[in-house]
């Protein structure tokens, strides 16, 4: 061959590559148009809300817009001693505008979140402003400082300065039971107020154990499904899928009926004499209830990937293992089990990710000691209306899931995953 670099031409003299691209362009466009609606749908319903959640979780523009002049004049303040007259003056002028717009309440609320005690002193200042008691020809600093002794405290002015940036990580820190203190250092909240970290740990713990229980129960079921003759395996498959076709709420409610103290399971225990009638164990409104109900509900997500992997494993492999001298256990452990790892990985990942964000079941059967982080998110969405905090926690959950996915990819390899 004279040269390999020589361009190959088609019969009509067009370079082959160009000709090929031309021929494939139409197919590419067609393929893109086919997925375009889905892509659009995903962007609208998934990517966009996540972006929205993110901005909401770090957004702190409200106060930035409320006190524009104050923050501007504070730029030169070193934050060690009380700020200058100028800062006080611009604060007062910002405050007056807020009073006119009747937004001073919001300011007080926001500042009070930053440091306790702002509510009172803002109200006092408001009364002075309302009665036009402040004379702008004299030192504003002196007058404001007279309103309340806290206005003379430098810590309160430092707190105001801390709210200046339009973005804040406060919500994320709060979700970890931490906050930025006066020196802009990340600090833990006092021990009796640390509730979120317990919830996170409990969520991971519950998800982990639910995954383990699902695996322990799902593996034999999937194996049975994959090896039974068709007519039995179909029946068993329906038994596995039947809960799937029942409403989640109904299933959770039926667990409540079964597990409550006067419930079926307890009645049975009393009947066969395991427990005394006046000492029925509590199996609901605690972690036990959450474990039992979630394991049952998430079991199909473990069984199905496992089944689809096991179905592809030829029974002759186990036979080969045995005929070569392996005991049934060795044949299982050295031959069968390693081949099911892609299914185990997929099932565990699926169950863990679903469990970590589970909401209805822990809300209904979890009680106080069985609620998870998702219940906390829902609480802030519906009750406290602190959407930015809920968004922050939601995103942290998402981040956690991504980290698990990444870890899984490192350990097992996502290419090995088999979902069906």
């Amino acid at each position: 061959m004279s040269s390999e670099t020589k361009q190959i031409l088609t019969t009509d003299g067009i370079p082959l590559e160009i000709s090929l691209k031309k021929a494939e362009r139409k197919n590419k466009i067609k393929a893109f148009l086919l997925v375009a609606p889905l892509l659009l749908f995903l962007i609208i319903t998934y990517i966009f809300p996540i972006g929205e959640m993110f901005t909401r979780s770090i957004d702190d523009k409200m106060i930035t817009n409320m006190l524009p002049k104050t923050f501007k004049s504070m730029e030169t303040w070193d934050g060690k001693e009380l700020p200058s007259e100028e800062v006080f003056a611009s604060f007062l002028s910002d405050f007056k505008i807020l009073v006119e717009k009747k937004e001073h309440g919001k300011l007080a609320q926001r500042l009070n979140k930053e440091k306790n005690g702002f509510n009172t002193i803002t109200k006092k200042l408001f009364r002075q402003v309302k009665r036009n008691k402040i004379d702008e020809t004299q030192s504003i600093k002196e007058q404001i400082m007279k309103v309340h002794k806290r206005w003379r405290n430098v810590e309160y002015w430092q707190a105001i300065k801390r709210t200046a940036p339009p973005y804040t990580s406060a919500k994320y820190l709060k979700a970890m039971d931490m906050y930025l203190n006066e020196d802009n250092k990340i600090t833990q909240v006092s021990e009796d107020r640390r509730i979120h970290r317990i919830l996170w740990l409990r969520t991971v713990e519950v998800a982990f154990f639910v995954t383990v229980f699902c695996f322990l129960m799902g593996y034999p079921i999937a194996h049975l499904l994959a090896t039974l003759p068709m007519k039995y395996s179909n029946l068993l498959m329906i038994c596995v899928l039947l809960p799937f076709w029942t409403s989640l709420l109904v299933r959770t409610a039926s667990w409540m009926i079964l597990l409550q103290q006067q419930g079926v399971v307890n009645d049975f225990f009393v009947m066969i004499g395991i427990v005394a009638d006046d000492n029925r164990p509590e199996m609901m409104y605690n972690k036990v209830g959450t474990y039992v109900a979630m394991t049952q509900i998430l079991l199909p997500f473990m069984v199905l990937p496992l089944y689809s992997v096991m179905k592809t494993i030829s029974p002759s492999l186990m036979r080969a293992g045995k005929s070569l001298g392996g005991t049934p256990f060795v044949a299982f452990w050295k031959v069968y089990f390693p081949l099911t790892i892609p299914g185990i990985g997929a099932g565990c990942l699926l169950v863990f990710i679903l469990a970590i964000g589970y909401y209805i079941t822990p809300a209904l059967v979890g009680g106080a000691s069985g609620t998870l982080i998702s219940n906390q998110i829902a609480y802030h969405m519906k009750t406290t209306l602190d959407w930015s905090f809920a968004s922050a926690m939601g995103l942290m959950l998402l981040g956690g899931v991504l980290v698990i996915y990444w870890l899984y990819n490192k350990l097992v390899g996502v290419d090995n995953i088999k979902l069906g």
Binding site: S314, R319, G321, S323, L324, G325, P328, L339
Partner: protein
């Protein structure tokens, strides 16, 4: 060294899966040490079931199997020490070739250097040295096959079972593998029980062939005997090609009988007919009937050529002979002076010795 002629012994073995149908009926079979025996039969004839019973994956419903005079029905597969090559090789896909071969040795707690030696030897036996670190998926079908054979032999089993091991290979590879397996058997002298439905495979490889049909051994003999002296019409039909005539015995002496056909009469070799009036199927191999025979033959008939099919080294001629429109003749390519044209009448002759009067179909 006298070889144990009852090394593997099936003694009155019955097998039924559902309690209604017997898949294997009253099987008695002795396999001697070092023998290459093939179980040949159509699918569903019970041959694979027999193999599985020997391997320990099925239990006989009745009767007993002996290995070296020990009953083995109650011994689990992993303690039988029988090597097995599976239909689809059953190589462990997550292990390298080396690990696959080392598996039977590791479970036997063989020392590491001993394992290395044995694996090396087994791989060189199937000419796959240097493939230790490959995964099975990186091998071609023929190579996988050879790894499977090596794995079944690496732990020096007394018996190796092969369940249609060449079924998934293409024709050329299958033929070369047949010779390779045969040579390995000759070299190491292991007892091989081979299952196939391919008669060509059975004929070229085996010391003896057991033809299975309907759960029974129809005939157990050496390949040449099986082909040339089938004992019943199933075997005659199943092994090789076969021209048949259905008729009734009208006269019988010691080694010749007269069979009356629908239109005509022929002389035949009484194999499974005993008396006048017996219904029979007469079987003649295509190559044993000659056109315009020069030697004297005791059957001479005239047939009309219905079809001529060119096969390269030989030509097949389909005749309408004595009412059988499917009478096939094989004419070697050397005899080109013959006038093989459609519609021509030709003379055909064969010896009564080669026309075997078997049981009626």
């Amino acid at each position: 060294m006298s070889k144990n002629t009852e090394f593997v012994k099936f003694d009155k073995v019955d097998k039924s899966y559902d309690g209604k149908v017997l898949v294997v009926k009253d099987l008695n079979l002795n396999i001697s040490e070092g023998e290459f025996i093939t179980m040949l039969g159509p699918s569903g004839s019970g041959k694979t079931t027999c193999l599985m019973m020997l391997a320990g994956f099925e239990t006989p419903t009745n009767g007993e199997i002996y290995l070296d005079s020990n009953p083995i029905s109650n011994i689990p597969p992993h303690k039988r020490g029988i090597g097995m090559v599976f239909q689809n090789y059953a190589l462990f896909p997550h292990m390298t070739v080396y690990e696959n071969l080392a598996f039977p040795l590791r479970v036997r707690k063989v020392q590491k250097d001993e394992i290395d030696k044995k694996v090396d030897k087994a791989l060189s036996m199937v000419s796959l040295s240097g493939f230790e670190s490959r995964m099975p998926a990186q091998l071609s079908g023929g190579q996988q096959q050879r790894v499977a054979v090596a794995r079944a032999l690496v732990f020096d089993p007394a018996v190796v079972l092969m369940d249609e091991p060449l079924g998934a290979l293409d024709k050329n590879l299958r033929e070369s593998m047949q010779y390779e397996i045969k040579h390995i058997h000759e070299n190491i002298g292991v007892t091989v029980v081979y299952v196939t439905h391919d008669q060509g495979e059975a004929l070229t490889m085996s010391n003896r062939i057991a033809v299975f049909n309907d759960g029974k051994v129809q005939q157990l003999s050496s390949p040449d005997k099986l082909y040339e002296e089938p004992v019943n019409s199933f075997v005659a039909e199943f092994i090789g090609e076969n021209n048949t005539f259905g008729g009734e015995v009208t006269d019988i002496s010691k080694d010749v009988c007269k069979v009356k056909l629908q239109n005509g009469e022929i002389l035949a070799n009484p194999v499974s007919v005993t008396s006048k009036g017996d219904k029979t199927t007469v079987s003649i191999r295509p190559e044993r009937a000659l056109i315009n025979p020069k030697d004297k033959m005791d059957n001479n008939q005239t047939g009309k050529i219905e079809e001529v099919i060119y096969h390269g080294d030989h030509t097949r001629v389909r005749l309408d002979l004595l009412g059988n429109k499917e009478f096939i003749l094989k004419v070697p390519n050397s005899s080109n002076e013959l006038d093989l044209k459609l519609g021509n009448e030709i003379k055909v002759g064969w010896n009564s010795q080669d026309a075997r009067a078997l049981d009626p179909k």
